[in-house]
């Protein structure tokens, strides 16, 4: 089980959290102006990165708030967690090659 650092509550076990998928995907401001491919890209396409990945988590059984995290998907090590709305931090440690 992962230990995840909630930016509001600190270290907590993974079972307190729910996963929110890839981070920093902004909903298009004018959805009606998108063509089908652009809309499908927003809805369904994810980077599925092998390596350092920015993702959302929600502290569902804690403070209830969403936040973002940087995790290496080849090791499951978190390099950072940060509040929603904050900029994605630079990687603290070198990433593993994809």
């Amino acid at each position: 089980m992962l230990v995840i650092v909630c930016p509001y509550c600190g270290k907590r076990p993974e079972i307190e959290f729910s996963y929110g998928g890839q981070a920093h995907l902004a909903r298009p401001a004018q959805p009606a102006e998108l063509d089908d491919q652009a809309w499908a890209d927003f809805l369904y396409m994810r980077s599925n990165t092998k390596g350092l990945y920015a993702e959302r988590w929600r502290h569902a059984h804690g403070c209830g708030r969403f936040f973002n995290a940087l995790r290496d998907t080849t090791t499951d090590h978190f390099t950072a967690t940060y509040k929603s709305g904050e900029r994605q931090p630079e990687p603290v440690t070198p990433t593993v090659n994809p």
Binding site: M1, F17, D36, L43, Y44, N48, K50, E55, T74
Partner: protein, 420 residues
């Protein structure tokens, strides 16, 4: 197919006199050629099967299967071997039942005992919603010629005596859907059988050969693969790389609606035959059967997050064991022997993609999520067709990448009513 050594009871007896020392390796270990007519990336059951059908049914014998590890070492060797075809939608039923029909004669086709055992797959209903959904499945399946029948709790108990049908458990069994043609097979044997048969048809199986780049010509079509064993030219490349499909196709600039998750399984210590069928419970996440070796084979769920680590969290396993212990109290003191994880590529609608890609000469068979093993022969068969003819077989025609753009989802995610 010119097998160097045909397997039979007689051959077994004859070689017994020579202390079984005259058996030869079941496939060659060739050096890569500079060029092939077609190359399959991924040496699991799906990839090896596609190579076999390309050679046998489409006459393409100058082909190779590239595997970055050893064949059958990925999800083919990590799954819980459940085979069934009782899917809701017409498109899925056609695809998975095509596969079940091939399973039924696969041992004879390949001259390799894949130990297909149609012992029946029973899916338990625990809520009113489950009951309604499964009855709908039963009716839809019958319309598609797929066997599936509804069992009342006492009938389920008769079919699977270890099942606890008491009403005092947290999620009592309200009934079950039974597919009698479903069952299990020996997963390793599927990879080995396809590898041996493909090799006999002239297919080169190249292990420890990782693709590092995909080269394309001026028109954008596939030209060659850069690999850890040198450059290999090919105008047709079929990718069957399961959890790593996104990584491979990114080399050609193709994006897919896939996310890769760890999926775990575990086995108990081996015991005498104690469990007659396959039982699945989507609602409380229990998947169990007994292998011919005697181990209880138990499937757990996916972890919450995407990952490529081939391992997952213990609480996913204990969650499944909670359900197993309640449904089958006689297994409460069984000791678990091993657990492991594999990486599965999941699509938004939980249906696979077997299709051409926007890159000419590049084909993909992916998105099988948590249930690709059952589809091995059928998917391999239609994937080979797609590669050979540069157009999909009628069975896999709906399973395109473009369905996500065009809105033609095959939404088995909603149909299964389970958080995969």
């Amino acid at each position: 197919m010119r097998l160097r050594q045909k397997f039979s009871g007689l051959a077994l007896i004859r070689r017994a006199f020579g202390r079984h020392e005259s058996w030869q390796p079941q496939w060659r270990k060739p050096e890569p050629k500079a060029a092939y007519d077609a190359v399959i990336v991924g040496g699991g059951g799906h990839g090896l099967g596609a190579a076999y059908y390309l050679a046998r049914e489409h006459g393409l014998t100058n082909i190779a299967v590239l595997e970055k590890g050893w064949i059958g070492g990925g999800n083919t060797g990590r799954n819980t071997t459940i085979i069934r075809s009782n899917y809701l939608f017409n498109e899925s039923a056609a695809l998975y039942d095509h596969s079940v029909k091939l399973w039924e004669s696969l041992s004879q086709t390949l001259n390799y005992n894949v130990m297909f055992s149609a012992r029946g797959v029973m899916m338990l209903a625990h809520t009113v919603h489950d009951t309604q959904v499964f009855k709908r499945h039963v009716h839809a399946n019958r319309c598609n010629g797929v066997d599936n029948e509804w069992l009342e709790p006492e009938q389920a108990k008769a079919f699977c005596p270890p099942l606890n049908t008491g009403t005092d458990i947290r999620y009592p069994v309200l009934g079950a859907a039974l597919q009698r043609r479903g069952g299990t097979a020996r997963h390793d044997a599927v990879a080995w059988g396809y590898a041996r048969a493909a090799d006999a048809l002239g297919v080169d199986i190249l292990e420890n050969c990782e693709v590092t780049a995909i080269r394309r010509d001026g028109s954008g079509a596939v030209e060659a693969l850069e690999t850890s064993r040198g450059l290999i030219r090919a105008r047709k490349v079929g990718v069957s790389a399961a959890g790593h499909t996104s990584v491979v196709l990114a080399m050609a600039g193709v994006r897919l609606p896939l996310e890769s998750y760890p999926l775990q399984a575990l086995v108990s210590e081996p015991v005498k035959p104690a469990f007659p069928c396959v039982v699945m419970s989507n609602t409380i996440h229990a998947y169990i059967s007994q292998s011919d070796k005697g181990e209880l084979v138990i499937g757990a769920g996916t972890d919450a997050y995407t990952s490529y680590t081939q391992r997952g969290a213990l609480h996913i396993n204990t969650h499944t064991l909670d359900a197993i212990c309640e449904l089958f109290p006689n297994f409460r003191r069984m000791r678990m022997l091993r657990n492991w994880g594999g990486i599965v590529d999941v699509t938004p609608d939980r249906s696979p993609i077997i299709a051409k890609t926007p890159v000419p000469g590049l084909y993909v068979n992916c998105g099988w999520g948590t249930g690709g093993f059952k589809a091995t022969p059928g998917a391999a068969h239609v994937f080979a067709w797609t590669i050979a003819r540069d157009e999909p077989h009628p069975i896999n025609a709906p399973f395109t990448i473009e369905r996500f753009r065009d809105g033609y989802l095959i939404d088995e995610a909603a149909a299964a009513a389970v958080a995969h």
